[in-house]
Subunit: 706 residues, 2 copies
């Protein structure tokens, strides 16, 4: 390991600062890591052996230490702290986030000013008095919020809403914090007034008595139990049986219900783009951070582990020296870095504040960028030419972030599994940290919009951008490449530099978008409705979204490289960026060949370049991983130790986690009878039949003959 760290051709600290966006960010992260490594609530050595119930309790213990920071730390600092927490303990991050992100977010976006003050006074900010959960999804309804079936019927006689679960499928399901933490719930339900349905609104319903934690009348709550991962969060189900809440408990910033049962709808449908955008960018950052954690383990192990020797009596070869092992990991390292820079740029670009104690973290906060657009929308008259511009920008941002959420979380999940497999058998040990990381992360591909559905949304927007481009309209920056003259050819020879690769992606992404648009138009021409045609061109839409997104990530990474100061770090990052772009050209080779951007010989050259880049980057994998700046406590895997003393640490960890039993738990009951057992008794048929001696003799003879 010392050899791997000797004389890196760049300054590891400088590289680390570049990857963290600033020196300040890096120092802050190091401070957080030091704090939690000393905080007994964040003791991690035993977590792979805890039961679901133990993990739940452990998670709850962490609340106390974090609540202090919520109320005292500047918002951007606390946000950054939560980003680290998400890498360290995704289950806890979720449990804590449900209250501050989802519940508080719902109140902030839905409550009138008076209502908002009421809940703040109740203690929502400091968790003193209220712990909230977010009651949106139902057993039979996930993404389709408009379809939830819980009802909130206005009772004019008593000035109350009656919250009710009409049937099993309408049971609130997956509600984080409901099983054993929350006192209140923001319930999404169909508003019914005077027998008429007015759509889904939000109602604050108290679930439990704050003093005794007893369930309130009419509330039935259960634990939904074991999940693939994130057992630290207590997801539950909730059924309401005619539960009455005061009219004031409906959040009335937008739609209002008067004492007389008059329903006043807001003039404009509300925008929720902001909410989605910041959540998605957080997931892009998390994808990079989690992938870096997995790669720290796999790459450090790959330099320590040796297998097969080149010659007799030679030391066995380090795994990382095999070209195929470089291929298994180094491109994923490049991808994790690419996604990391993408998230840094997005955060800056949209001025996303992922956390705000009053605004709600994760779920809400319109960024300045979006605030501007939203205000513009509200002030511009219909027909104003600027309005369309604004709408186009909003749409592009929305669609690009949908694609990024999908493809970055998938990329991270794949990275974790590749890392696990690259560690061979030891990757299958829970103590490697990789199995849990996979299980915890997997849900990111499903929640806040299933990845496939988000990809299609992105594809749908791309089709419409393409139509705009054809009409000669100016496109939003994220898709502007489509209106450039894209049917250019690749350089016929010579090394492909970042500019060439960028051009290749722009051209091919344009072509796959065009293909999707043509498929769509083709179905329309054959008589499909617009919706049907969209469904029928799903596969092309999906491919369009994928290529667009990868090209976008590459472009962001390239921009980050351009912005670096001259020096060896910039050179290194440019090499890593080239690797990312070229490797993805290989991965998406069918499209590059199909649209004849590259021919077969050029694709062979790309393959050779990827091989070459992997071989040259092999020499710096350890310094690069060091620059990820994840402490041993955070990585929590003996295979990924900074000092490379893998086997000793692994052995000690296994021994500590599995102390010998004083007594064998089931030797006497199960093993001993097996070891000492005789063949099953055959019944003595003769005796049972009461054969005469003569008959018995005959029988014996017959048997002997057989």
């Amino acid at each position: 390991m010392a050899k791997e760290r000797a004389n890196p051709p760049f300054d590891v600290r400088k590289l680390s600062i570049a990857m963290h966006g600033s020196r300040k960010s890096l120092l802050l992260k190091e401070k957080f890591m030091a704090e939690i490594s000393r905080d007994p609530a964040f003791y991690l050595a035993d977590i792979y052996d805890l039961s679901k119930d133990q993990i739940r309790e452990r998670t709850m213990e962490k609340f106390a230490s974090l609540v202090h920071y919520v109320t005292t730390e500047p918002l951007d600092v606390f946000n950054y702290r939560m980003q680290l927490i998400s890498t360290v303990d995704p289950g806890f991050w979720t449990r804590f986030g449900v209250h501050f992100g989802l519940f508080l977010g719902a109140i902030r976006s839905g409550a009138s000013p008076a209502q908002f003050n009421y809940w703040i006074d109740k203690g929502v900010i400091g968790l003193n008095g209220v712990i909230g959960c977010f009651g949106m999804t139902e057993l039979a309804h996930g993404s389709n919020v408009a379809g939830v079936e819980t009802t909130a019927t206005f009772d004019e006689k008593t000035d109350e809403f009656v919250i009710h679960t009409p049937h099993l499928g309408a049971t609130k399901w997956w509600i984080g914090g409901a099983a054993s933490t929350a006192t209140h719930c923001a319930v999404f339900a169909q508003l019914i007034v005077k027998g008429k349905r007015h759509g889904v609104k939000t109602f604050i319903v108290q679930l439990r008595d704050v003093k005794t934690f007893q369930l309130r009348p009419g509330i039935n709550i259960g634990d939904i139990g074991k999940k693939m991962g994130r057992d630290g969060i207590d997801n539950g189900y909730i059924q309401f049986t005619y539960v009455r809440v005061p009219r004031a408990h409906m959040l009335m910033k937008h739609t209002q219900v008067s004492r007389e049962g008059i329903v006043v709808d807001p003039p404009l449908a509300q925008l929720t783009y902001g909410a989605l955008l910041s959540g998605r960018i957080a997931m892009v950052a998390d994808s990079s951070n989690t992938a870096k954690k997995a790669l720290t383990i796999a790459l450090r192990y790959a330099v320590v582990r040796r297998q097969f020797s080149a010659g007799k009596n030679q030391l066995e070869t380090q795994l990382i020296d095999y070209p195929i092992h470089q291929r298994r990991l180094i491109p994923y390292m490049a991808q994790a870095i690419a996604i990391g820079f993408t998230s840094l740029i997005l955060t800056k670009m949209y001025n996303v504040r992922l956390y705000h104690a009053l605004e709600g973290w994760l779920y809400l906060t319109l960024s300045n960028f979006l605030q501007e657009l939203t205000e513009a929308m509200e002030t511009l008259e219909p027909g104003d030419p600027n309005l369309k511009d604004v709408l186009a920008k909003l749409k592009e941002t929305h669609s690009t972030s949908a694609g990024l959420k999908a493809f970055c979380t998938w990329a991270c999940l794949e990275t974790i599994d590749k890392c696990r497999q690259s560690c061979g058998g030891h990757g299958y040990s829970a103590y490697s940290g990789l199995p849990n990381m996979y299980a915890d992360f997997a849900v990111q591909c499903t929640w806040e919009g299933d990845n496939t559905i988000l990809s299609l949304q992105s594809g749908r927007a791309l089709i419409s951008s393409w139509a705009d481009a054809k009409k000669g309209k100016t496109l939003a920056p994220g898709v502007a490449y489509m209106s450039e003259k894209s049917n250019v050819n690749a350089k016929s020879s010579g090394k492909l530099d970042l500019q060439d690769i960028d051009q290749a992606w722009a051209c091919v992404a344009t072509n796959v978008v065009r293909k999707a648009a043509e498929d769509f138009a083709g179905h329309i021409a054959k008589g499909s409705s617009k919706d049907e045609a969209m469904e029928k061109c799903s596969q092309s839409r999906f491919i369009a979204a994928k290529l667009h997104t990868i090209g976008y990530i590459f472009r962001m990474f390239r921009r980050a490289c351009d912005e670096q100061e001259e020096g060896p770090e910039k050179q290194l990052l440019s090499d890593i960026c080239r690797l990312y772009g070229l490797w993805q050209i290989e991965e998406q080779g069918a499209s590059f060949l199909k649209y004849a951007y590259f021919n077969a010989q050029q694709m062979d050259a790309v393959q050779a370049e990827v091989d070459g880049l992997c071989a040259s980057l092999r020499n710096v994998v350890i310094p690069v991983v060091d620059a990820f700046a994840l402490s041993d406590h955070v990585v929590n895997s003996p295979l990924g130790r900074y000092d490379g003393d893998v086997y000793t640490a692994y052995f000690n960890h296994v021994c500590a986690a599995n102390p010998p039993n004083k007594e064998h738990p089931y030797f006497e009951r199960l093993i001993k009878p097996l070891l000492e057992r005789k063949p099953l008794d055959e019944e003595d048929v003769d005796a049972a039949m009461g054969f005469s001696e003569e008959l018995a003799e005959m029988e014996k003879e017959r048997k002997a003959k057989k």
Copy 2:
């Protein structure tokens, strides 16, 4: 669900028989399923909530019910039973298999006849007296058996071997059954006689007293604890500190050590192809069966689950009616069926008997096919032209099975995850069955040869077949396509039938193999050694193996279709086979375009055909899944229930698994203090400092100004 089953355009039973190879196989499987569903040891409803220790004990309970069948059931029947068990409880399958497959296999392949009889008399067959484990892998050594570092030093004075673990890295690791089941171990160790090393041999070492289960002197065993999956098997570590065993405990069928310490090596290195082959084919079968189990869940759920409606007041659309959802699942259904038929044909072709109580199940048994080849090898003189033929066949079988093991297990693992994601949030619930299935199955990509390494082995053999083809030699059947005139072109128009698709795969597979061979030759030309050149062309080798293997699976499936009786079942299977072949052409599109087998327009046509096949097969997904013939007990997922009553079953399962707590486990300790807490006391600085009244006044003013 009833609607989905109404009037299928084929006979479900006939289809099921076809997919199971024979009516007898299907009936047998149904008998096994009925038996285990009534066997209390196979109670499955609570398994997703058991702790590792509980699962271990549960697994051990199953031994007793299975041991009966080992000794009484015909071998092929028992083998088939084990195939089902592997789908139902992979952890138990492994734990049971370690003794019969690995330990007994080691004795059978390594023991002299007298030694063999000795161990049989000890009770190895019926587990009465001996439970064995298999001590091959070490902490620092996995695949490279020749590199194990445990030593077995012959002590001439006492006529014993001294088994010793010289350092931590040589600790036997991952040893299944060692932690709490085995009494004996087949230990792989370096034989040292008179100071000289003679390579790795096998020694039977007793670990525990059979009566008391106490560890024998010098033996240190520990549990290696929590794993990603298969917690039913108790993997452990073993350290030997100068443990003495009689000379007779070295298995001496091949190498022998005399009383005087003379080492006699066998004239020929032993072939272990047979062992590997049958293990690999078992894993191909398991890949198909497990994928079918996952698809049963995902496809049944996809017809029950509805999301978003096409119009107002319309019932929401079934997931499976979305073209993208068809794309997410139906091609994987085709793949699982393709792999299933491949395993049926292989089993027949090589007459593999996967289990034989005396020969050892899973691990050993030379098939008739290989027996013939092996015998031929031993009788033919060097130089005999037939010898080369025999060797070529052996090599091809070996390499094809390596590729099949790798790509089929990967395909299954991917299928499970795709199925899980397609179930949305509920796929993340442990009770869906899919998270555990993934975790259990994942190890198949690593054990018995890491998939990437096996792929490269296959690629290496393909390069050498290509060289043979260029020299005009006759190739073994599995690679014969390479010597056919492969640079033919695709049909320029019209529907691609099975013959066309087969030709496409043969041509493109030939081309990628040629590319790998050229890369290899190129590196040789540039001065690399043969080994270096092989490493340097790894990526091309990998691609060659992948395309070869997929083409092989397609060919087997096509053959199975050809062998069916005429009728609607044959038609259906041919459609499914077309889907598999075309979908994989899309997936590997880069190669098909690169070698100009298809052009861009033809690839678009392939995409459209895949869309069309998915749409038409959508109507039969439920009957096809029914033909997989997996009982609700085996599937063990409320989402995958035969009757489609998904939500009720899921709710009931969750409630049963998570009964309400009588008392909240940590309300008083953790939640109440949070809810009732006041802001942290600020110290009364003034009082603490003992300020005079005057000073205190000034201080107050200063504060007020701030």
